[in-house]
């Protein structure tokens, strides 16, 4: 098996100065800063001994809440940050020993769009980066045309970068990452700021064109659980710098024994209905929300799907009108919330 990305016990710590307490703001803070060196520092373990491997042509999702360490991990793999312990091999090159070779074989999209020159056209900007990647002049024009077409920016090729919308700028980020035709792509929230249609199209391009057809290996961070569920071959859930779950999305969902969710739409709702549902055997929790002046939506977490029939009986007995009822598996989002809250405990 070929693993273009191999991460081994990678650890990244940051030492940060603690902010002064509220009561010391203003003149006291100024004097303290002036007179003494701040001693209050704390160490944050942004990436805590993380290990995983990604197969060739695999789309690997990195999920987690804000501050989980996803961007730090991407930046460390992209050689922008120096790890404190452990290492990673990108296409066989060690990020510590051969960072320039790692960069030559990696295309990276960071969460913040930087390094663009507003008064250069998209084509001119890409030409600049293509030359920094030492691409042969004879191939540059063709490659720029190809990546612009792939991300859907061909029509904007000769417009100034500063005139693009934020979504288009995001696409240009991806075009830049693809320029040197790298076997490994590190994508930090690549669909951030894109509209639904562009986002779907970009996911299709990355999944089918880049991963399936061109066998590129992709590490993709996202907050969007639906996105991860739809396109990722495997996902890792990060929380407080650690990987707390890793595998196919079905496997991740199976890790949390949260039963199933019964969702129903009820008219002529009253408090007795809610009370009777809560008393039923097998009901874990009940949440209600008003859809419109007449109808309510109930989301009932149950231990097993058989409880659904008892729920419909309770609604009818209580004088409610049951419009719809469906039983669903918990989504990856439900699982992630559960996993990270358990991780916090």
């Amino acid at each position: 098996m070929n693993y273009p990305v191999e991460v081994e016990s990678l650890t990244k710590r940051f030492t940060v100065k603690k902010p002064l307490p509220e009561e010391e703001l203003g003149i006291l803070k100024f004097l303290r800063r002036l007179l003494q060196k701040p001693k209050t520092k704390e160490t944050i373990l942004a990436v805590d001994s993380v290990s995983f491997k990604i197969e060739e042509g695999e789309l690997f999702g990195l999920l987690g809440p804000n501050g989980a360490g996803k961007t730090t991990l991407i930046k460390t793999l992209g050689t922008l940050l120096w790890p404190n312990a452990g290492t990673a091999l990108i296409n066989g090159y060690d990020i510590r020993r051969e960072p320039r070779k790692v960069r030559a074989f990696t295309g990276t999209v960071l969460d913040i769009q930087m390094g663009w020159y507003g008064r250069l056209s998209c084509r001119q900007n890409l030409l600049f980066y293509a030359q920094l990647y030492n691409m042969p002049p004879s191939k540059i024009k063709e490659r720029i045309g190809y990546v612009l077409k792939l991300v859907g920016l061909m029509e904007k090729a000769d417009e100034w970068q500063q005139k693009l919308s934020s979504g288009m700028k995001r696409k240009l980020d991806l075009a830049r990452a693809l320029l040197p035709d790298p076997p490994v792509l590190l994508l930090d929230e690549p669909t951030l700021g894109l509209d639904v249609e562009s986002s779907r199209e970009l996911r299709r391009v990355i999944k089918h064109e880049l991963c399936r057809n061109q066998r590129k290996t992709v590490l993709w961070t996202t907050h969007n659980m639906d996105e991860a569920e739809q396109i990722c071959d495997r996902v890792a859930v990060m929380h407080k710098g650690k990987i707390i779950a890793l595998g196919k999305t079905d496997y991740i969902k199976s890790l949390v024994k949260s039963g199933e969710v019964v969702t129903c739409e009820v008219k002529m709702m009253n408090p007795q209905i809610l009370a009777s549902i809560e008393k039923l055997d097998g009901v874990i929790s009940v949440a209600s929300s008003q859809l419109n002046p007449e109808a309510y939506q109930l989301k009932i977490q149950v231990k097993e799907r058989e409880v659904a029939s008892k729920i419909s009986e309770a609604i009818l007995k209580g004088g409610g009108l049951l419009y719809t009822l469906r039983v669903e598996e918990p989504s990856l989002e439900d699982t992630l919330i559960k996993l990270t809250s358990e991780g916090s405990k």
Binding site: T15, I112, R119
Partner: protein
Amino acid sequence: MSWLSNSLYSIYAFFRRDAVNVSSYKLNFIFSIVNMFLWALTMGTLGQVTQSAQAPYMQRYGNMSAATFMLIGMMCNLFLEQSQGAPQWIANPGAMERILLTPCSIPTFILGTMSWQYFWSSLNIIVFIFIGSLIFGMNLSAIDWPTFIIVLLVGILAMWGLGITAAGIQLVTKQWNPITWFLAAFSWFASGIFYSPEALLTIDTSGALYAIAWCLPQTYVYHMVRLAFIGKTLLDLVQPLINLLILAAVFFGLGWFTFKLCLRRCQLEGSLGWV
């Protein structure tokens, strides 16, 4: 040799980027060219106006005119100040983080970032020499060009040292480095752009300012380039050249070490992309 051709190719990329960017501001671009001529005319005129006051200090430079003296000072200053200031542009957080994701090396990055500015300064020098010889009687026949170029290159190396040190500090502190600003301002005052450093003895008879002025690499560059303009060769300038080489070695070594240290600290702290 592939690393050399790759580096030159990358430097060309930076040059091309800046050329396209600068020329996109068309009015600004045109007036920058007009400004070159105005600067040269201003310096030459200022030299002529102060001719009698400067005359006693011109003896060691073969009694060259004050206008030539000032034009030489100003055109060398363009190169030296750019060499000191330009490395700090690379500390622009967004651009740097992005460039560091490519295989481009740090020296190539620094040279590439400065390439357009050097080209522009070279154009300035041509304009200064043209105006100087056409209007202010600058004598070009005696110039020892190898001495002129070598002295300027060693001076640039020394100023890179200061610039790279400042860029490193700026990477960590995220603040414009006041030391660089002070050194530039002090150089305008003491190193001999407009008047010979000997003139400092008229305001400070103890000679302290004069002694400090000769600790600056700029002072040696202006002095030796002016001597190159009256035909002195490197063999005539061994002692000041050795002094300049020592300053260049110390400043450049210190600068490179500081920059690498600061960059590593940023990579450890994760503050490379901070503004």
